[in-house]
Each structure stands twice: as C-alpha cells, then as structure tokens.
Amino acid sequence: MKIASFALAAALSLAALPALASGPQSPQSLKAEVNGMVCSFCAQGIEKRMKTLAATQAVYVDLRNKLVAVEMKPGQQIDEKTFRAEMAEAGYDVVSVATVPQTAAQIRAASRKQ
C-alpha cells in the first residue's frame, strides 16, 4: 500500500514537470533602498537612466518609502553593479538591493498599502 502511494505520488509529480517547465517565468525585479530621493523633479534621472537599460521592463520610484524597483524583462538580467552604477549617474546612493519575484506594479501596490 505504501509502495503504491509512493508510486502514485511520484507519477503525479513527474506528470506535472512539463507544465512547470513550459509555464510563464516568474517576474523578477531589483528592489532597492535609496537615499536622497526628495522630489520627483530631482529623481527623474533614476527613471530615465534605468529605462536606457535594454533589460528594463518597468521602473517604480517611491519617494515616501525611499524605494526604487526595476522590473527586468523575462529572461533578462540587470546585475547589481550595473544598477548601482546607473543610480550613481542619476546622483543617488543605493543602501541595499535585492532581487525579488515581483513585477514593478506588484511592488507599487504593496508599497501604497503601507
């Protein structure tokens, strides 16, 4: 009985693999805490410079929560070094940055609830 249950579970798992492999990739965004963002006119450089990167899908700037999120296009990446360099060209200091499985819109929605 136990062997049969195990075999059934294994078979179901194996059957699910193709669906998982061919499904849509999870969105990925760089989410950063940034110092110095005090007005939208001043922070224009963040959005403008991030949008020059080929891998950028969307950009979200949150002045209240000191947050910048850059959603990457499916299958493409922006490395942390490039992100920090663009933020420096825009005139801002990155405190921390992490890759999160969310779109810029999802990060924006979550941020607005705070």
Binding site: C39, F41, G45, R64, G91
Partner: protein, 230 residues
C-alpha cells in the same frame, strides 16, 4: 546614448540654446546640474529681469550651460539702466550628501560671455563678462532651503547678487503626483538693489516639470519654469 551620437538631441539642444540666447537677459540665478546625459531648459521672467538658458550634463556632476539674461531698471517712469549678458557656463556639483530623508548639495559655476550695458540712456557698448557663482541647498520631501550667490564682472559693471530661499510643501506626494510648495526668496544685488527684494512663490513640481509663479514686495509678478529631458 551619449549626446554626441544623437543627431536629434544635438538639434534640439541647438534650437533651445538659440532660443535661450535670443532672450539676452540678466541674472543667471540657476545653476543646474541634472543627471548624466540630460538636458535642462530654464526660464525666469519678471518685469525687471528675464533669463533663459539650456544646460547639458555631459558627465556625472558636470554640466555646460548656455544662456542669456537681461536686467532693466526704471524709476519714476525714467529708464535708469540695462544689463544684457549672453554667456557660457561650466557648472559643477562639488558635493552632495544623500541621507534617508534629505539631500544637500553644493554647486559652483564659472562662465564667460559678452555683456552690454546702458546707463541713464547712454549705451556703453559691449565688453567681456566673467561670472562666478555658488549655490548651497538642502531639502527633504517637505522642506527646502538654499543660498545662491553670483558675481558678474564686466568693463562697465560689477555686481554681486545674494539670494536666500526657503520653502515648505503642503504635503508629501507620490512620485507621479503634483507637489505644491510655498517658497519665499530674499534677494539683493549690489549696486542695483535699493533694498532687499522679497518674493513669494507658489511652486509646483511634477516629474520633469518645475514651475513657480510669484509676486514680489512691490506687487510685481515673476515666473520660473524648468524642464528636464534625456
């Protein structure tokens, strides 16, 4: 994409610079250094002073600015004097401090150009003018303070202007919302100002647009507009 490789941006810069230079005005108060590879167009208009310029930030913390300004002064219906300057500046953001809730900056500027002076109806002709300036500012999402100093040295005039600005926003806004401010400026120009001029502004900031409308202590209107693009 850099300025050099974009014919469209070069053309836009030439057109805006041409517009700015034809204004030929006095009082380069603005000392903009925006983000790398960006352009900023500015104009500042009042009854006695008109200014227009365009700047391009070619490297982090650096910008070149071309512009013109014009001061005129009338007293009791009599035209007293005129100063007209067209010049080129190099602006440098010498220092910036970013903290979680604020930003502070120190800018310096130097420029050279051509000036024309008129005094008591007599045209004194054109001469070379050099200009030096500095600006210190500090702001949060709701407070703003700045000091702006400029020195203009030409054959026929030598002026130093000092301005102190303070402002407060009525409320915090999100990045994509219009933010209203109330701002007060106190300004004095040596060998021109009889007294310190106070101007009260309503300031509006929305993404790439910065606009101010105000009235000074003589009831005369003034407006400022800035626009950034890349």
């Amino acid at each position: 994409m850099s300025f050099v490789r974009s014919p469209r941006r070069r053309a836009a810069a030439v057109l805006v610079a041409g517009f700015a230079l034809t204004f030929a005005a006095v009082d380069a108060r603005a000392m903009p250094v925006a983000f790398t590879d960006s352009f900023m167009a500015m104009t500042d208009l009042s009854e006695e002073a008109q200014e227009a310029s365009v700047s391009y930030s070619f490297a982090r913390g650096w910008a070149v600015q071309a512009g013109g300004l014009r001061w005129t002064r009338d007293h009791a219906g009599v035209h007293e004097d005129t100063r007209e300057i067209v010049d080129l500046h190099l602006n440098k953001r010498a220092w910036r401090l970013n903290t979680p809730g604020s930003q502070a900056n120190w800018y310096v500027q130097a420029g050279v150009g051509s000036a024309r002076a008129e005094q008591s109806g007599r045209d004194l002709g054109r001469s070379t003018v050099t200009q030096f300036g500095t600006q210190l500012d500090w702001e949060t999402t709701r407070l703003y303070a700045a000091y702006k100093g400029h020195r203009y040295i030409a054959r026929d005039f030598n002026h130093t202007s000092h301005a102190v600005v303070a402002g407060a926003s009525l409320y915090e806004v999100d990045y994509d919302q219009v933010q209203p401010w109330v701002v007060v400026e106190a300004k004095r120009i040596s060998k021109r100002s009889k007294d310190t001029e106070f101007t009260l502004f309503a300031r509006f900031i929305y993404r790439t647009l910065f606009a101010e409308v105000g009235v000074n202590d003589e009831g005369k209107p003034r407006a400022t507009l800035m626009y950034i693009w890349m």
